[in-house]
Amino acid sequence: MRRALHAEWTKMRTLASTFWLLLAAAALTVAVSAAAAAAARCPSGDCALDPAKISLTGIYLGQAVVAVMAVMVISGEYGTGMIRLTLTATPGRLSVLAAKAAVITCLILATGAVAVITSLLAGRLILPGHGIGPSHGYPALSAADGPVLRAAVGSVLYLALIALLSLGAAAALREAAAAIGAVLGLLYLFPIVAAVSGSAGLARHLQQIGPMTAGLAIQATTSLSSLPISPWVGLGVVGAWAAGALLLGGLALRLRDV
């Protein structure tokens, strides 16, 4: 397993795209978060705004880059034929998948932490000037505030779980474009179908099982009672999706010819 890990790390490290994708994920997250913070206004002083959630809006875009990156970890090898070499060198196919999962998780956790901390700092600088700061009765964006810390840590974990979900989908589908389409569909379709379902109960259920809607409940720091699902349970739902995808991908990898 150690050798598999080392091999995966070497492959990751020597790909030029790894660095650029990680940079893109972090930069897009921060840029969108800062833009959302810059667009938020509360002149009246009593808007139903959640400063932590606004400051972390970029995760909605950053997760797409994370998904591409995780998909390419497997689908890239299928595209070039590298996968045959990999599986010849390490015949234990589940070990390969586990090593890939470990490497991508570490990378995404590190990148996600940088992106989330920078986004929150940007929010902390921008929001008070727009009437959404501690002096207006909103929670301060600092690690000392429990819910804000939960939102920050949770967002980083969310990105890692999305990466694992994408990895599983890629192992199951092999074709990169199809895998990324499936992952983005899974993320985007639940809230859209919930919005038009026409029944509040059904919409709530859809938001509880959708990986994005449930998982990003972790970003809420105010009015928790109106969330479709409680923060940590929501993150657990994404975890279940990721586990399911990895299981499916692992089975496919194990049972199928390369």
């Binding site: 833009a35 959302a36 667009a39 938020a40 206004r41 509360c42 808007c47 139903a48 705004l49 959640d50 959630k53 606004i54 809006t57 909605y60 875009l61 797409a64 880059v65 998904a67 591409v68 998909v71 390419m72 689908s75 595209g79 074709e175 990169a176 474009a177 199809a178 895998a179 990324i180 389409g181 983005l184 569909g185 985007y188 379709l189 809230p191 859209i192 179908v193 919930a194 919005a195 038009v196 379902s197 026409g198 029944s199 059904l202 809607t213 809420a220 105010t222 009015s223 109106s226 969330l227």
Partner: protein
């Protein structure tokens, strides 16, 4: 390997056309022989229709305790209207006029409504509270009318048949600066005047109401729409609910000329019944003393922008279709690059721009047909199901329905061509799929379906990103004379339908041009 630059003379037009037909045939063969793509398109179309049927069969909006089968009244133009006001009226024959002075317009906003009555009331007049003179074919909902009025915040106006609106004198009305209004009828032609002093009159407008009955009802009216506090902030913020209001106006110096019938005024509460959004307010009514009328009313006489389910309600499956065609569009060329087929393709047809044109044509046509089948199926089956479940459906003209269905198909086709072009530019399927899906769906998601962005950012995103194309399925137009919640989450887009679609087309066209340039420039 560079494709050989063919030095032979440019083929004649007929030969060129024949050659392009061959290219189209080649691309069509490549498409239909990949079983996965065909299956994906068929499944996505079926899922779109199924989701429409499911939405139609499951939605039970309407009254608490079951469907209420409330029918939204329609105006003379076929649009949904609100037609609720208090009316002090008398019959009028073919010729005549009425002149009146309005000396005050005040209002009350009732917030925190409970079954016993409002928890709080606030003395304020909403901008589109209306008081003035109206001439209407009758008290039934959606009747033809013309009216001149003073408003809470938009000066004097002349309005007719719900959608017509012309501005008169600006400014608010008070005892110190009263407004004189006059409405005159000459057969089918109605003219409205206003004046600040009762001597110098300005014509606001003249309208012709064809086939107006010989005897109509005319007189004083007052109405006041719900106060709408639009807050669009965050998932939990949602849109602000409306608070009922009513307005009270004082009229005096009523002068009647011409063929007025009868000799007494009647008070009528015109309303759409107990299920209408404006129940007849308890305070509605009028009293008359020494030539002064004090009239109180609630409601609105205007196009209805809030009530019904739009006909595109069952169209959520569009997004399944979009994801499917974007994946296929991106793969249509990138798969050729991966397998090396692109070298054969370009060797067989060295004019690369033409190859790309053939690909775009074939892909656009296939996805348009699939989109048309999906959208038509979802709407034509889902909408009647919604109606059968007691959901009030916004009445739309057949032309609007055609625009929504065909526009949705065009949206799907344009997204596919956009994905094809980005695929050629990047030569990387996954990157192309991610960029196109994120650019088209994510802005829509963050502004309309799952609104997390502030309203200003939402408007901006839906103007500049390819998601502007979703405007093509906006059903009800925005009216400046109605204060509504015109947010993307309520189905309103910042750009007009075709303008929004043009933004998406521009993205696709620029990407296609760049793709064509790069395809010719680069080695295969």
């Amino acid at each position: 390997m560079n494709a050989p630059a063919i030095a032979s003379s440019r083929p004649g037009t007929t030969a060129a056309r024949e050659k392009f037909a061959h290219l189209l045939r080649a691309e069509w063969t490549k498409f239909r022989s990949v079983r996965g793509w065909v299956i994906t398109i068929v499944i996505a179309t079926l899922l779109t229709i199924l989701l429409g049927v499911w939405t139609g069969a499951n939605s039970q909006e309407g009254c608490p305790g079951g469907p209420c089968h409330y029918v939204i009244p329609t105006g003379p133009g076929g649009e949904a209207v609100t037609d609720t006001y208090y009316f002090v009226n008398r019959p009028l024959a073919e010729h005549g006029s009425i002149t009146v002075r309005v000396t005050s317009l005040t209002g009350v906003i009732e917030t925190g409504m409970t079954p016993e009555g409002p928890a709080r009331t606030e003395a304020a007049v909403v901008p589109w509270s209306k008081a003035g003179l109206i001439l209407t074919a009758g008290p039934s909902q959606g009747s033809t009318y013309a009216a001149v009025m003073v408003t809470g915040g938009h000066g004097a106006r002349m309005q007719w048949n719900y959608t017509g609106d012309t501005a008169g004198l600006p400014g608010r009305v008070s005892a110190a600066s009263p407004r004189w209004l006059r409405l005159s009828r000459a057969s089918d032609v109605i003219t409205g005047y206003d004046s600040a002093d009762g001597t110098r009159w300005t014509k606001i407008g003249t309208v012709s109401l064809p086939k107006l009955a010989p005897t109509v009802q005319a007189g004083l009216f007052v109405t006041s729409p719900s106060y709408s506090a639009t807050t669009s902030s965050g998932i939990t913020g949602g849109s602000g609910g409306g608070a009922p209001t009513h307005a009270t106006a004082a009229f005096d110096r009523v002068r009647l000329r011409g063929g007025w019938l009868g000799d007494a005024w009647t008070g009528t509460a015109v309303s759409g019944g107990s299920n209408s959004p404006y129940a007849v307010g308890s305070g509605s009514g009028y009293h008359q003393a020494n030539g002064t009328f004090v009239v109180t009313g609630t409601g609105d006489i205007a196009p209805d922008v809030t009530d019904g389910t739009p006909v595109d309600g069952p169209l959520a499956g569009l997004f399944i279709g979009l994801i499917a065609v974007v994946v296929i569009g991106a793969l249509f060329t990138t798969a050729e690059y991966r397998r090396g087929l692109i070298r054969v393709t370009l060797a067989a047809s060295p004019r690369r721009g033409r190859v790309l044109a053939a690909k775009a044509t074939v892909l656009g046509a296939i996805t348009f047909v699939a989109g048309l089948a999906g959208a038509a199926g979802a709407i034509l089956i889902g909408t009647p199901l919604l109606r059968a479940n007691g959901n009030p459906i916004d009445p739309v003209t057949a032309l609007t329905e055609v625009r929504v269905i065909a526009g949705t198909a065009a949206l799907v086709a344009m997204a596919a061509v956009f994905a094809l072009s980005v695929g050629v530019i990047l030569r990387h399927g996954a990157a192309a799929v991610t960029i196109v899906l994120t650019a088209i769906i994510l802005p829509y998601l963050l502004t309309a379906a799952f609104p997390v962005l502030p309203a200003s950012a939402a408007d901006w995103l839906l103007r500049v990103t390819p998601a502007a194309g979703f405007a093509i399925k906006q059903v009800i137009p925005q009216y400046q004379q109605v204060a509504g919640n015109y947010a993307p989450s309520a189905g309103y887009f910042p750009l007009a339908p075709w303008a929004g679609f043009a933004v998406l087309c521009a993205y696709a066209a620029v990407a296609l041009a760049l793709a064509s340039f790069l395809l010719r420039r680069r080695d295969a």
